[in-house]
Structures are given as C-alpha cells and as structure tokens.
C-alpha cells in the first residue's frame, strides 16, 4: 500500500483554503468579464443605433451625407440586396494613425432602402479601450490571488511556530514523561482551547497511570515479600531435614526434590522480580561505561568454570568501546551471556569476546540448538536438555538491551553461537 503523505494541520487547512479562494477569484473574474462584455455590447449597440437613426433621418430628408466621420461610410448600391441578411456584426482591426498601431474595432454593416435605392452603411467603432478594460479584470484578479496566497502561506509559516509553541511544549512533556518517577508534570500556559483540552486529558491519564502503577508496584513488592518469607521457612526446614540422618536414610530422594524445587522457585521469583523492575524502568540512570574493565572482571569470574570444562576464553577488547547503559544492568547482561557461552560451549574452540566498532560480540562453539533464533529470547523457552536453567536468562538480557536502546541479535555460523550487541539504529 502506498504510504499517505503526512501534512501539518495548518498546511492542510491553508491548502484547502487556497483552493476555495482560487475558485472564488476565478468565478468572480468570469462573472465580471461577463458583465463587462454585456456592458460593452449594450453601449456599442446604443452607439450604432444612434448613428443609424441619424443616417436614416438624413437619407429620408435628402440631406447631404458627405460630412460623415471617417468611421462611417454610406455607399449607394446599384443592385438590390436581401435586407434580412443585415445587420452584420463583426470585430475587425483598424489602423489608428494617432497611435501608429492596429486596434480592435467593432464593425456593423447595415443596408437601408430609401425608395428603390439601397444604401449600405459600414460603421466601425474602436473598442480597444473597452476590451482592455475587460481584460484587465483577469489581469488584476490573478496577481491579487497570487499575492494573497503568498501572504497566507508566509503568514502561516511564521505564525505556526508561534501558535503551535504550546502544542509542541505539551508534546515534549508527554515525550519526557516516565511512569513512576513521581515528578510533577508541568502545565503549559495556553489560551488555545484544543490545546488545553489535550493537556487536561494528558494530566488525567498520567494521574490514572501513576495510580495504577503504584498499585501494581505495591502488589509486586508485597508479593515478593510474602513469597520470600515462606520460602525461607521451607528452605530452612528442608536444610534441617538434610542434616537429619534418620530422615535422609529413608527419604533422601524426596527431600532432594523438594529442596531443588525450592531453589528453583526462589531463583525464579528473584529473576521475575528483576525483569519487572527493569520493565518498570527502575534502573534508568544510564552512563557511558568503558566495557573493557567490566568484561575483564566477568571473564575472571567465569574463568574457573571455563577451566573446569577445559574451555579457553579469548578476548579482543577495544580500549575505546563504550556502552550507554546502567552499570548494574551491564553486569547482568555480561554475566548471563558469558555463563551461557561457557555452559554450552564445547572444546572445539574458544569462547570469544570481542569489542570494537561499537559492537560487543560473544561467541562459543557448539552444536546447533534447534531453536529458531528469535524464539531464543522468549521467556521460558529453553532447550530440553538444559534441566537446571530457568529459561529466563536470555529474555532478561533482551529486556535490558531493549530498555538501554541496544540491539541484540543471534546467529549460528561456522559451528559457533554468536551473540552481538550494538546500539540500536536511531530512527
């Protein structure tokens, strides 16, 4: 589908207004021209009628017709003509010696019969001035319209900035608003009713959102609190059972299952809680972090596990590579990705961490997973044989990347699982 072009509201109204104005100008031009034509014809007809009347009178009374003006010629015809074919009209060009120019003129030819004689009279009347006057209508209407159009467009251009300033300010406030920050949203002072309506609505919405958000947050916090204490009780009781030989000799497998599930549950609770916090934007103080020392710290922490699995960890870290991210979140991202790389890595080749050109790449060797790349970041989507995993690690990483305006992608290439993190393309 073709994308429809977006226009500013003011441009739209101006455009439509100009179309209507243009039509109005053209119609009034046509009307005026028509009126002018009628006036000209009427005037000429009157003139010709007057002249005709006088010639007729002169002929009837046998007066001399020699002293007629040059634009009127009376010729006696030798043969009779059909009278009904006359009068004849027509526009013609006549030479005006005063102006040394050809000028438009109206010509009227009539034939009188006086007794048995026929007189043909040709009358011409210069109409150049009339026509000029008539044509001036359009010649003035069009420039007037163009001036008006330019004026309106320019005016709008200048005024839209002024009139729409409160609107843009309100938009900026909306843009910068973040849930749960407890800051008073400023009111933009404006006398435009629509803007005030919008602003009121915005404030009402914020109020509602804040209210709901607070409740949800309290609920989540309470939930976490209420769950943790019983979990602590269960876990401690189970640990007591584990220390009790009489119980363990008979029920060790049951106790073990209970204990494993408690641990799973408590990790699950912690991680979901963390994801919720990230979604709520509670970690929203990104700073520019030089990644090299941070990555080195994490590599150091994971090296023990890598050693145990006989994996080597290779790094190629740029001094300059930096990310705009909350440091705590970067820790979580690195911890999860490195742990995955080392846990699933095989000894075919090293786990590699490469930074540079604003990219961070973590790769490890291993057989293909049989999970589509995009599913990998979904919650609770996990490999069947990764028993102890929560299935939340990568979705946590994805969530963090999202809130930090970073893009993470995954590909499988040359027997390697490759994760790449880079700043999101700003659209």
């Amino acid at each position: 589908m073709r994308k429809r072009r977006e226009l500013k509201l003011l441009s739209k109204t101006t455009f439509i207004y100009l179309i209507f104005t243009f039509l109005a100008f053209v119609l009034s031009g046509i009307f005026l021209t028509h009126e002018a034509n009628q006036f000209i014809n009427k005037d000429l007809d009157q003139y010709f009628a007057r002249v005709e009347h006088r010639i007729k009178w002169a002929l009837e009374h046998g007066r001399d017709l020699d002293r007629l003006p040059s634009n009127i010629q009376v010729i006696a015809l030798s043969q009779p003509v059909v009278l009904s074919a006359y009068p004849q009209y027509g526009d013609t060009l006549t030479y005006n010696p005063g102006l040394d120019d050809m000028q438009r003129a109206r010509k009227r030819v009539i034939v009188f019969r006086e007794g048995d004689r026929y007189y043909r009279t040709v009358m011409t009347k210069p109409v150049e001035d009339y026509f000029r006057f008539r044509d001036d209508i359009f010649r003035t209407v069009l420039p007037a319209f163009i001036m008006l159009a330019v004026g309106i467009v320019g005016f709008n251009y200048l005024l839209s900035g002024y009139f729409f300033r409160p609107f843009n300010k309100i938009l900026d406030l909306m843009k910068s608003y973040k849930v749960g920050q407890d800051t008073e949203v400023k009111t933009v002072d404006t006398t435009t009713r629509e803007f005030n309506k919008m602003q009121d609505l915005f404030h009402q919405m914020i109020h509602r959102i804040e209210h709901d958000y607070r409740h949800l947050k309290e609920y989540t916090e309470n939930m976490a609190h209420e769950l943790r204490t019983p979990l602590a009780v269960i876990r401690n009781k189970t640990e007591n059972l584990i220390s009790d030989d009489t119980v363990m000799t008979r029920q060790s497998s049951a106790v073990k299952i209970i204990y494993d599930e408690i641990n799973h549950l408590s990790r699950l609770g912690n991680t979901l809680n963390l994801i919720t916090k990230i979604e709520n934007g509670e970690f929203d103080n990104p700073v520019w972090v030089t990644t090299r020392p941070v990555i080195e710290k994490h590599v150091e922490a994971i090296s023990e596990l890598a050693e145990l699995k006989s994996l080597s960890v290779e790094t190629d870290l740029s001094e300059e590579h930096r990310l705009l991210i909350e440091p705590y979140l970067l820790d979580i991202v690195l911890k999860n990705l490195l742990r995955n790389a080392v846990s699933y890595g095989t000894a075919e080749g090293p786990v590699r961490i490469i930074t540079g050109e604003s990219r961070l790449i973590i790769s490890n060797y291993g057989p293909p997973m049989g999970i589509p790349g995009e599913k990998l970041f979904e919650r609770f989507y996990r490999n069947n044989n990764s028993r102890g995993s929560l299935g939340l690690g990568l979705s946590l990483v994805k969530k963090i990347c999202d809130v930090s305006r970073l893009t993470i992608d995954y590909r499988y290439e040359d027997d390697q699982h490759i994760f790449r993190i880079q700043p999101s393309a700003t659209s």
């Binding site: 401690n236 584990i242 742990r339």
Partner: protein, 226 residues
C-alpha cells in the same frame, strides 16, 4: 554471645532460634517492632538480626535506636525486599551486612560470625576444630601447626565448613557462599566437587583426617568423627 532476632514470622524465628542455639549462641527473639524496641533499650546484645518489614514499624528505625544506645552491637539486616535503595540506606545507617530471604542457615551463620569477629576484634581471630586451625586475619589454615597451601576459594570453603561443623551444607549454599549468585545452574555444581576434592587431599596429605563427607548427593558435611 547474645543475639536478638527481630522477625515477625513465627516459624522462621523458631527455626533460626533453634539453629543459632545449636551453633552456641544465646538467642532472644522479638516478633514485633514494639517488643524489639523495648529489648534494645533494656538489654545489651552482641548482634541483632533485623527484618525490615515488621507489621508495626520500620526495621530501619530500629537501626537508629541501636546506634543511639552506643553499645558495640553488630547489625544484620534480613529482608524480603530486594531493593538496592534499601540495601544502601541500611548500610549507611550503620548495619554491618544485608541478607535477602530466602537464605541458607549456614550462610546466616557465616555472616554472623564474620560480623562478630569484626566487632570483637581482639577476642578470637582463630578458629580451631580438632587438629585444624584457621587464622582468620592472616587467612591461613593449619593441620597440627603445619601450614596448608590453599587457594583463596579453598580457604573460604574450609572456613565455611568450620563455621558450620557437623551440618550438611548443600551445594546451593556452598555455591552461593563462594561465588555469590554467579553460579546458579545445577550442572555447574561439578566444580564444587573439584574444590572439595582438592581441599580434602591437602588436609589428608598434611596428616589431617578426612573431615569432609559427601551427603546423599546433596551436599557435604564437615565432621570431626569419621
């Protein structure tokens, strides 16, 4: 050593009380803010464990009260809230350590010991069980005065065992203690086994007994009687 547990969950309190008494402490408990406040005014404790979320008050206020008393009392915050702000605030007010629920009893014990050691600096910096002796300040361990060549992790592991003798320490608890939350996958517990194997070998090579026994595939127990 006299401890006070301030915590509103009765079962958890009973459990902690029993556990800590077994570890050789004198333990008192307070289930409410009011009760805790009274006790803090009336008696003197070496260490107080405070739950922040009490039904009738904020545990944070208790920290201030304890500090006002002027005794050298250790404070361990124990909370279900996992908020970074709370942690920072608590430590700023003068708490010594911060633990989130759910916790391992052995970990609680280790933390309590470490706080007490810091507060009662001059009393005991060594821990002795049977032929084993650990010098906490120098971070050295001996079997019959013979110095063991331990890595940092092995030393921490041995200390953790000796702080919780004759108790089964689960793999989860050991992993959390040694690596923080870095290791939380079941298949990574292999290298706890590795560390324990090395530690055992170093102790027996120096003439010590095989103190550390595997228990039901769930954990290990430091025991003086084989």
């Amino acid at each position: 050593m006299k401890l006070l547990i301030v915590e509103d969950n009765k079962r958890l309190v009973q459990d902690m009380e029993r556990f800590l008494k077994e570890s050789g402490y004198v333990v008192e408990t307070a289930l409410t803010f009011e009760r805790a406040n009274d006790k803090i005014y009336l008696y003197q404790y070496d260490l107080i464990i405070i739950d922040l979320g009490l039904p009738d008050g904020d545990g944070m206020d208790l920290i201030q009260t304890i500090k006002d008393q002027g005794h050298d009392t250790g404070i361990l915050i124990l909370t279900a809230k996992d908020a970074l702000d709370d942690k920072v605030l608590g430590l700023d007010l003068g708490a010594d350590d911060y633990m989130t629920k759910p916790f391992h009893n052995a970990e609680l014990n280790a933390r309590i010991r470490s706080i007490l050691r810091r507060h009662k600096f001059n009393r005991s910096n060594t821990l002795e069980i049977d032929a084993l002796k650990v010098d906490l300040l120098a971070a050295q361990a001996f079997v019959d005065e013979q110095l063991l060549d331990l890595t940092k992790k092995e030393f921490d592991l041995l200390l953790y065992f000796m702080q919780n003798p004759n108790r089964v320490l689960t793999k989860e608890s050991i992993a959390e203690h040694l690596w923080g939350d870095h290791i939380d996958q079941a298949d990574n517990f292999d290298f706890i086994y590795n560390h324990i194997k090395n530690l055992r070998k170093k102790i027996t090579d120096a003439g010590g007994k095989n103190y550390i026994q595997a228990k039901y595939g769930m954990g290990y127990k430091f025991s003086t009687h084989e």
